[in-house]
Amino acid sequence: MKLKNLYLGIIASAFLFASCSNDDDNNDAPLGAYDNGVLILNEGNFGTPNASVSFVSNDLNTFQNDIFKLVNTPMVLGDVAQSMSFSNEKAFIVVNNSNEVEVVNRYTFKSLGTITEKLQNPRYSVVLNDKLYVTNSISKAVTVYDAKTFAYIASIPLNKTAERIVAANGKLYVTNAAYGSGTDVTVINPASNTVSKTITLANGINSIEEKNGSVYVLSGTSTKNTLSKINTSTDTATSFEAIATKSALNMDIDGDKIYYTQATEVYAINLTATAFSDKALFSVKDSSWSTFYGFGVIDGKIYSGDANAFTSDGTVTVYSSTGTALKTLTAGKGPNGFYSNNN
């Protein structure tokens, strides 16, 4: 949700473009099972509780919008669904502007509960050892919950931006960067719920991923791109950068490849790469603004979520690794993430 920071600046735009109603006449019956597919998180319009989740099967043939509502009416998911994390059969949907984490069964999508305690503009979450860790942008803290009972356990104050969070090697890695600026990754020791280290990397951190026990961090600014790999035993990083390429975003690791985007282009490099690629896998037509508002790579397929400037339903396009459009879907408002949901 990139709008928040600009809220005052574009309060005018909020008048103009604010939101869309949620009285969807979707009379579809729930599918019953939402496994063996991909969950698409549609954040919705800022200020309007119209976030939604869509489902598409792995073969791309079965598709359904608004599955949370279909299964759980009259509950509404809320205002700006920012991200999702998983633990066993549970999915934790972080609803930023509603200050809620909706917990559902990831395969049936039945609601299991709502976490609200100590949430202050929650952003991202991760589950480690049956505990749910949620970053909060207003309190600048990570809040901790029991992932089974959803009871609040503790808060870990960071006193600086708390954005994305991953778990690796029994520790938590939180990016202290948002809206294209910020240099740090904070390491949290979950045994003591304290900060064990701050790792300083290149400015403009926007993505963090865990793979094979290592943590990969992408920084992109208008002057250079930097990819850092954190050795989670020593919590030290090795980096490489490129000044020819810039404004890289949306890192996602699938198999042994690191994918990312630059403007309307998709790139991929090997996990072992020591340099950025100067050749795009493919590029997409800049049909509107925010073409890659959502981006994800799952089993070699590339999912893009075009927010259509938040003025109408988002468009999800699924590409092959060579850029052939396999499927185009009309999802909910502002599709921002793709989550593999295999049983």
């Binding site: 990139k2 005018a12 008048f15 869309c20 109603s21 200050n99 603004w289």
Partner: protein
């Protein structure tokens, strides 16, 4: 609720009250209007005047007044929350609010929040449809709203006190003092509005939370006639308000917003030989504080201080030709979170020509060019003509080019502002037909306009939001304004109605702009009998698209909201009125923006004193 019981009782009572009086229609003598140009150079467009009796009847916010009495559609984020207009299918920033002749749209946002203007401090409010950039500057594309403190120079000493108390602990109070001699005139008022605003949503078990607000407005106007040829006037307004923004999901972080605006204007009017000159110096400031979380001390803030100097010189070339030039200079200094410290200067020159060819036929021509250190401005023009075919019918025609400059936020917002933005500009034309027969008035206006380089904030591919000159829009439509007054014996009926049909399409997609309803209708009927007066008003807004693709699943339903009120004047000579009104009489469930529900039926009791 106690008020509800009284409500039923009052309806019974209404039928039995037999002695009453007509509402005092304000017939001002020796009035000096605050804005000469509106009187002199707007004869070929449509102007609707809302006088003080209409202002008094409506809620005190400018949103409510205009919503129920004009064709303007309002995007109101819940009662009392931020509210912006769409006039003739244009955007929020394409309607200008003009305070005593000075454009007071926010320099930061480019628009006025119509819930931060309290109406009861003004003598009259004029609604002028169509372009007006030549005289009123940036943003006068859809139309202009004129807030007037008119001064009268007749011996007067009047106190005015009005208090309104309604459900949700809603209080509106105004105290005003008018004192005048033939040389001096003084008019001042203080208005206070506040509300807990915790109404229940119609048909839901949900209450409006964190919607409380208050605002205070101090208005003052002083005029002094130095001699027959010179007069000085000073106008001042201070607005101080705080609103909590109501929540759309129950656990959301509570926020609040504070506005502090000041407006000061000194004018010197002088006439000599065939000249009349008008020097105006204005200093206006706007300031906001936004609390992202009301439980925290931190807030972001910003403001702009503007100095405006304007010199009008009118010259009567002959008894039928009047030439006017306007020279103006504006300096805006902005400071705040997001925009840093920034300033801009604008200088402009306009020339206006008015020629009365015959008693029946006149035309007006005008042009304006401005120079700025920030943007390039097009040459603006306006041309219009009026022909009186008979007492019964007159025809008006007007064509103009207008513009809107980028706001401080558009230009300077850190990391997002776009210094290369061009002004939005429009070409527009309209034909107006005025029919008049006895106490019946009907104005039917058809118009069309093209707007290009519309500025819109869009998310871009580098993951940021930034304003762009993007859309082209074509708008056409028609408006009808109807007025009819009928008296027989001691009964008087006054009927007013407005209707607008608006087609506003994006040239690229050929779809209706969202938040522009095709249909809007208002109607009011007032009844006066001796000292009793009663009114009923209705506002219908057609279905509203909320997405750029006009997706039917995201349409907001049409709504039809009615208010009713009745009051009785107990005083023989002056005004001692006690009244009651019910807003949203039929308890309509409606929202002007998604998830921004408006209150159901609610009652207000009021007392008006004027001595």
């Amino acid at each position: 609720m106690i008020l509800k019981k009284r409500f039923a009782f009052f309806f019974l009572l209404m039928c039995h009250i037999v002695s009453a009086q007509n509402d005092s229609i304000n017939k001002l003598k020796e009035v000096i209007v605050s804005d000469n140009n509106l009187k002199n150079f707007a004869n070929t467009q449509s102007i609707q005047r809302l006088n003080d009796s209409i202002i008094t009847k409506n809620q005190s916010s400018l949103t409510s007044l205009l919503n129920y009495n004009t064709v303007i559609y309002f995007k109101e984020n819940g009662l009392g929350m931020t509210s912006s207009p769409s006039f003739r299918g244009t955007t929020s920033q394409q309607t200008v609010v003009v305070w005593n002749g000075i454009n007071i749209n926010s320099q930061l946002l480019g628009q006025t929040d119509f819930n931060t203007i309290s109406t009861r401090g003004f003598n009259s409010i004029d609604v002028k449809a169509g372009g007006g950039s030549i005289v009123y500057g940036s943003g006068a594309i859809g139309g202009t709203i004129h807030l007037n403190n008119d001064l009268k120079f007749t011996d007067t000493f009047k106190n005015d006190f009005q208090i309104y108390y309604g459900e949700f602990n809603t209080i509106s109070a105004i105290y005003g003092l008018t004192a005048a001699t033939k040389k001096w005139s003084f008019d001042a008022s203080f208005t206070r509005n506040s509300s807990d605003n915790d109404f229940k949503f119609v048909g839901q078990n949900v209450w409006n939370t964190n919607g409380q607000y208050y605002n205070n407005t101090l208005d003052a106007a002083v005029g002094y006639k130095i001699n027959n040829k010179n007069s000085i006037k000073f106008y001042s307004e201070i607005y101080d308000g705080e609103r909590h923004f109501s929540l759309t999901s129950p656990n959301a972080t509570k926020t609040k917003y504070q506005d502090y605006n000041t407006r000061n204007l000194l004018t010197w009017t002088s006439s000599f030989n065939k000249f009349e000159s008008n020097l105006r110096l204005a200093y206006i400031s706007e300031h906001y504080n936004y609390f992202e979380d009301i439980n925290l001390d931190g807030f972001t803030s910003g403001g702009v201080k503007s100095f405006i100097g304007k010199y009008d010189l009118d010259y009567s070339l002959s008894s039928t030709i009047k030439i006017s030039t306007i020279l103006d200079y504006t300096k805006n200094d902005g400071l705040g979170s997001g925009i840093g410290k920034s300033s801009r200067e604008i200088g402009g020159a306009s020339i206006l020509w008015k020629h009365t060819l015959t008693e029946k036929w006149n035309y007006e021509l005008s042009a304006r060019k401005e120079v700025s250190d920030v943007y390039k401005s097009p040459v603006l023009f306006s041309a219009g003509s009026r022909y009186n075919f008979s007492d019964f019918y007159q025809l008006k025609f007007n064509v103009s080019r207008n513009y809107r400059i980028p706001t401080f936020n558009d230009l300077y917002w850190t990391g997002s502002g776009n210094p290369d933005l061009k002004p939005e500009s429009s070409y527009q034309a309209e034909i107006g037909n005025d029919f008049k027969y006895k106490d019946f008035r009907l104005t039917v206006t058809a118009y069309g306009m093209k707007i290009k380089d519309m500025i819109r904030w869009l998310p871009n591919n580098s993951g940021n939001w930034s304003p762009e000159n993007t859309d082209k829009v074509t708008i056409y439509g028609a408006e009808a304004l109807l007025g009819w007054r009928k008296s027989f014996n001691k009964h008087t009926f006054d009927f007013n109605g407005t209707y607008a049909y608006t087609v506003s399409t994006d040239d690229k997609t050929d779809k209706q702009l969202f938040y522009v309803p095709y249909h809007k209708l208002t109607g009011s009927i007032s009844y006066y009998y001796k000292k009793l007066s009663a009114y009923y008003q209705v506002m219908f807004t057609g279905e509203i698209f909320t997405t750029s693709d006009n997706n039917p699943k995201d349409i907001l339903d049409a709504y039809n909201v009615s208010n009713i009120g009745v009051d009785y004047n107990f005083s023989k000579k002056n005004i001692f009125k006690v009244g009651v009104k019910a807003a949203n009489l039929w308890n309509e469930k409606y929202e002007a923006l998604p998830s921004r529900y408006m209150p159901g039926r609610n009652l207000t009791i009021y007392l008006n004193l004027n001595y």
